[in-house]
């Protein structure tokens, strides 16, 4: 155990842990501002923490057994911290404006919201640095438990139903992942007799000795389990409801931080499979799942009446693309896609939360003419939609291109074709819905931005920053970005 | 025929004449005591039988030959049942397999049911239809439970029950589960409590008893005796399965153990009659499905042994 690294690590977790207690103890009206400040501090801490790994090719560290800090882990720590910081920054204005549900008057819910947000952040840290499949499982399940209260923080009947569905379906899914973990452990007892191991690094090293039948069986369960959490195709029922029923900042956390956690878990597991020479099997199971997820989500996107559900299905589409990338072993493509999607989707949920406050509804047919009410928000909304749909100036175009190229390189023309159709269909559907929101005549009585929104620039700073970052990733020299992300391959 | 089997035959026949009256008598008096009533004497069923046998028969004008002959037919069936099942703890005089046992029970049920419909009264038909509906659940349960035991013992012959188990490698749950399943069958077949109220006078809630409403005199006596015989055989069968968990060497001890267990079972039945309430007719499949599931799982566990 290395004292220096341990201290580094304690430094990384210190602020969120203090934040947890703050959320419990501070008077609630002050809470949003304090937590937002703490999160920006945490951003600085995580940049300092991750700098050596990302920019100086620092070798992966193992502060404790079962913990591995590698560039991928650091990237997701950084991303999640940044996204959470942006969300908490936005909540300072958002909760002050909110009338019903979760707002500044509702102290208990507010505390719960911040407590759970920080707990989710810590769980994602856990997922990112877990090298042990068991710890990985614990962190993923803990993140589910921590995020369930976010879904029902509006305290409405429908949100209760969504939270129940989310908790139960994801818990069962993750229980299956535990079974898969146990099966992989049983497999490892053949390779590393007699004790076996759950460490990803050790499993990868001894991958050639793992019995393939057990390994495959375990992988199927892990795929089902973490796939449920990520919202992959046959197991996505909970996702639209949960995203739609949680308050906008909660949905932003779910989409921007939690989805990545499950995908990261899948990445770790798939790495073991690929090392064991089971690439064919992964392509037989996970690739179709990913492609189908994208296509099905695109179909659902065509007929959507509700902005929250629309964004949820767009997330599902992106998760499908990420799963495809993972199954093809394209870690760089996956990371870039995950980063761009998180940034853009978080921004979108924040903007759509504002839009819901302006119009008092989230039905797409009643959201009209945002550009005359608040041009800045409309612009950001369109930019965000362009970013999640993979339009050129944004980083997601680069990653989707990269993943399609990987499909072709791995001789999967059908998958590439289906993915292309899915992405295109989703793009068209998203743009049509988004333009409907941005342009047109605003409904009577809503022609002006309500007074309570105050200074426009401050209230849209967080989403704007996220989108600028997503844009920056796309406008850098494409080859440089791809090279940087490809270096994350373990 | 060897001496032992001759003695066995004699004991079986003797017991199948005495035990039904005795068991039913004990059951009734126990139930009465449990309900804080004095109740009839233990030998009252025998007196009832003799009294009914002396009485005159009253036949309805609507009845035909089926009604008149059914008691004898079903008595024959039950008599054979008593001879093929080693219920007394002694090898059965006639060696038979479990299918014959179930078949004989079905034959008796058919005779009773037809006779009840032959009376062309509403209650008779209703009782017959209910009894046959119940048998849809009871028969598969019985077959499966006995098959589980047969697989466990390695032989489909009922007399194998008397032999000690071939190996103890199988699951310990086979016999308990089979016993539970057969207990539920026995409750359904002998009109015991969660399924049918044995002391009811309300024809609408009767199942088995509704078929006997039109009988009188010696025929009724025969029918009552058969019900007791059926109870005896079932409890004897259950006793055999319970005994197989212990190893008993000599026939005498086995016979004694069987008889003791049968008395205990009767007391247990009396307790159950007292504490449980009758299930609604439409809730019965819920209970019987448990019997079926128990026997299914017992079969499974028994089959896994091999």
């Amino acid at each position: 155990m290395n004292v220096h690294q341990t201290l580094e690590f304690i430094g990384l977790c210190a602020v969120p842990v203090i934040g947890l207690f703050t959320a419990l103890m501070l008077p609630a009206p002050k809470l949003p501002r304090v937590v937002a400040r703490m999160m920006w501090l945490q951003c600085a801490v995580s940049v300092i923490f991750s700098a050596p790994y990302l920019w100086h090719n620092h070798a992966p560290d193992r502060p404790w057994p079962g913990v591995l800090v590698d560039p991928t882990a650091v990237l997701f720590i950084l991303l999640t911290t940044f996204v959470t910081a942006a969300v908490t920054e936005h909540t300072t204005g958002y909760f002050a404006r909110e009338q019903q549900g979760i707002n500044l008057q509702n102290h208990r819910v507010l505390r719960e919201f911040y407590f759970c947000t920080l707990a989710v952040l810590l769980c994602i840290y856990g997922i990112a640095i877990a090298d042990n499949l068991g710890y990985l499982w614990i962190a993923v399940e803990a993140s589910t438990l921590a995020s369930a209260p976010l879904v029902y923080s509006t305290r409405s009947g429908a949100s209760l139903e969504a939270a129940w569905k989310y908790l139960i379906i994801c818990s069962v899914g993750i229980a299956f992942a535990f079974f898969g973990t146990a099966l992989i452990f049983a497999a490892s007892q053949h390779a590393l007799a007699p004790d076996g191991t759950l460490s990803c690094a050790l499993l990868i090293r001894t991958a050639n000795h793992l019995p393939p039948a057990l390994l495959r069986f375990g992988f199927v369960f892990l795929l089902l389990g973490y796939g449920t959490k990520a919202g992959l195709f046959p197991l996505q029922f909970w996702q639209p409801d949960a995203y739609n029923q949680s308050p906008a900042p909660g949905a932003a956390i779910l989409a921007g931080a939690l989805g990545n956690g499950a995908m990261l878990a899948l990445l770790r597991v798939t790495n073991v499979m690929l090392a064991a020479g089971q690439g064919q099997f992964v392509r037989l199971t996970m690739l179709p799942m990913g492609v189908l997820t994208t296509c099905v989500a695109a179909l659902f996107l065509v007929r959507q009446r509700n902005s929250g559900r629309m964004l949820a299905y767009s997330s599902m589409e992106n998760m499908g693309i990420m799963a495809t990338a993972i199954s093809l072993g394209s870690v760089g493509g996956f990371c870039l896609q995950a980063v761009c999607h998180s940034l853009a989707k978080t921004a979108l949920f924040l903007i759509s939360g504002d839009a819901n406050q302006i119009y008092g509804t989230n039905l797409l047919e009643r959201l009209r003419g945002l550009i005359t009410i608040s041009p800045a928000r409309a612009l950001l909304w369109l930019a965000g939609i362009a970013a999640v749909a993979g339009t050129p100036p944004f980083g997601s175009f680069l990653s989707e291109w990269h993943i399609l190229a990987a499909c072709i390189r791995e001789h999967q023309p059908i998958a590439a074709g289906a993915l292309l159709v899915g992405i295109t269909c989703a793009f068209v559907a998203l743009v049509v819905h988004a333009c409907g929101v941005a342009f047109g005549e605003p409904p009577p009585g809503k022609e002006r931005l309500p007074q309570k929104f105050g200074n426009t620039w401050r209230s849209i700073a967080a989403p704007a920053m996220l989108l600028v970052l997503a844009l920056w990733l796309g406008t850098l020299l494409p080859s440089a970005v791809l090279r940087a992300f490809s270096r994350l391959t373990p | 025929m060897s001496r032992i089997s001759l003695v066995g035959l004699a004991v079986t026949v003797l017991e199948s004449i005495i035990m039904p009256f005795l068991l039913v008598g004990i059951l009734r008096s126990c139930r009465s005591r449990l309900q804080k009533r004095r109740g009839p004497r233990v030998v009252q069923p025998l007196y009832d039988f003799l009294r009914l046998a002396r009485k005159q028969t009253v036949l309805s004008d609507e009845t035909g030959p089926i009604f008149k002959n059914a008691p004898v037919v079903s008595l024959t069936a039950y008599g054979l049942v008593a001879l093929v099942v080693p219920w007394a703890g002694l090898p059965a005089p006639i060696s038979a397999d479990l299918i014959l046992f179930v078949f004989l029970l079905a034959a008796a049920r058919m005779a009773t049911g037809l006779a009840a419909m032959d009376t062309s009264t509403a209650f008779g038909g209703m009782g017959a239809s209910r009894e046959s509906a119940l048998s849809i659940f009871v028969e598969p349960t019985l077959v499966l439970a006995l098959s589980a035991v047969a697989i466990y013992q390695g032989s489909p012959w009922l007399n194998a029950l008397i032999a000690t188990p071939v190996s103890t490698g199988g699951s310990a749950y086979v016999l308990p589960l089979a016993v539970a399943a057969i207990w539920i069958c026995a409750a359904a077949e002998t009109a015991r409590m969660p399924i049918e109220d044995p002391v009811t006078h309300l024809e609408l809630t009767m199942i088995h008893e509704a078929q006997l409403l039109e009988y009188s005199g010696p025929r009724l006596a025969l029918m009552e005796y058969q019900a007791g015989l059926k109870l005896t055989v079932y409890y004897g069968l259950i006793a055999q399965m319970l005994i197989n968990e212990i190893v008993i060497k000599t026939p005498i001890t086995r016979w004694a153990a069987t008889t003791t267990i049968m008395f205990c079972l009767v007391v247990l039945a009396a307790i159950i009659d007292t504490v449980l309430v009758r299930l609604h007719w439409r809730k019965l499949p819920d209970l019987l499905a448990f019997g079926l599931a128990f026997s299914l799982v017992a079969c499974l566990l028994a089959a896994l042994k091999g």
């Binding site: 068991g134 139903e161 229980a175 079974f179 049983a186 069986f217 | 599931a293």
Partner: protein
């Protein structure tokens, strides 16, 4: 040890199937408690016999937390919420019982995962199956929690049957997660019963839109 394994494994299986057919919550909780105590005791004994402290501690933890504390909490929950029986199930429970038994029978007889799973672990797969059936067939929130716990029991039993136990930290973390999950689900049930005055999951959807 193997005979004890199969003895308790089959007990687990039988109680799980039994629970599929039962609609009274209290009976289900009793059965659940019996099977969890059995599997916890098994883990403890196997841990002692194989000299694996991790398994022993995990077994005691399961016995105390999942086997005693969780049923007590859930029965308190049902008393406060005031529900005693499952309302109609999606398929009537006796039929479901038979279907579940048949499914487990098929699993045992055909043994589809021959290469992957040792025969000793078959009951655990049966229990997982029964837990799944319990979860999807019941409409009452409490019953779904119980189903989830049964599912978890199956998985824990599987980890007991494999030759060496999982690391202690993993076992304890899993146990902690499960307990926390039960508590959070319980709180949700309270909330649901407060806002809807029932805990029938199927009827929650009617309030949407």
């Amino acid at each position: 040890m193997t005979s004890l394994d199969s003895l308790l494994g089959n007990l687990l299986l039988i109680t799980s199937l039994w629970m599929v057919g039962v609609t009274a919550i209290s009976t289900k909780l009793t059965l659940y408690s019996v099977q969890t105590i059995a599997v916890g005791a098994l883990a403890t004994l196997v841990g002692i016999a194989h000299n694996e402290p991790a398994l022993t501690i995990a077994g005691v933890g399961v016995l105390l937390l999942k086997g005693i504390a969780a049923p007590l909490y859930l029965s308190h929950l049902t008393q406060v919420v005031g529900c005693r029986k499952d309302l109609g199930t999606f398929i009537s429970s006796p039929l479901l019982l038979l279907l579940a038994s048949a499914a487990v029978g098929g699993l045992f007889l055909f043994h589809p995962f021959q290469q992957s799973v040792p025969p000793a672990a078959l009951p655990s797969i049966g229990v997982i199956l029964a837990g799944m059936i319990l979860m999807v067939s019941r409409r009452l929130a409490v019953s779904q929690i119980i189903g989830f716990l049964v599912l978890e029991n199956g998985m824990f039993f599987f980890t007991v049957t494999i030759p060496h136990s999982l690391p202690l930290l993993v076992e304890l973390g899993v146990l902690l997660d499960i307990m926390a999950g039960t508590m959070i689900a319980g709180v949700l049930v309270f909330q649901i019963s407060d806002s809807f005055e029932h805990i029938d999951i199927l009827r929650l959807g009617n309030h949407k839109r």
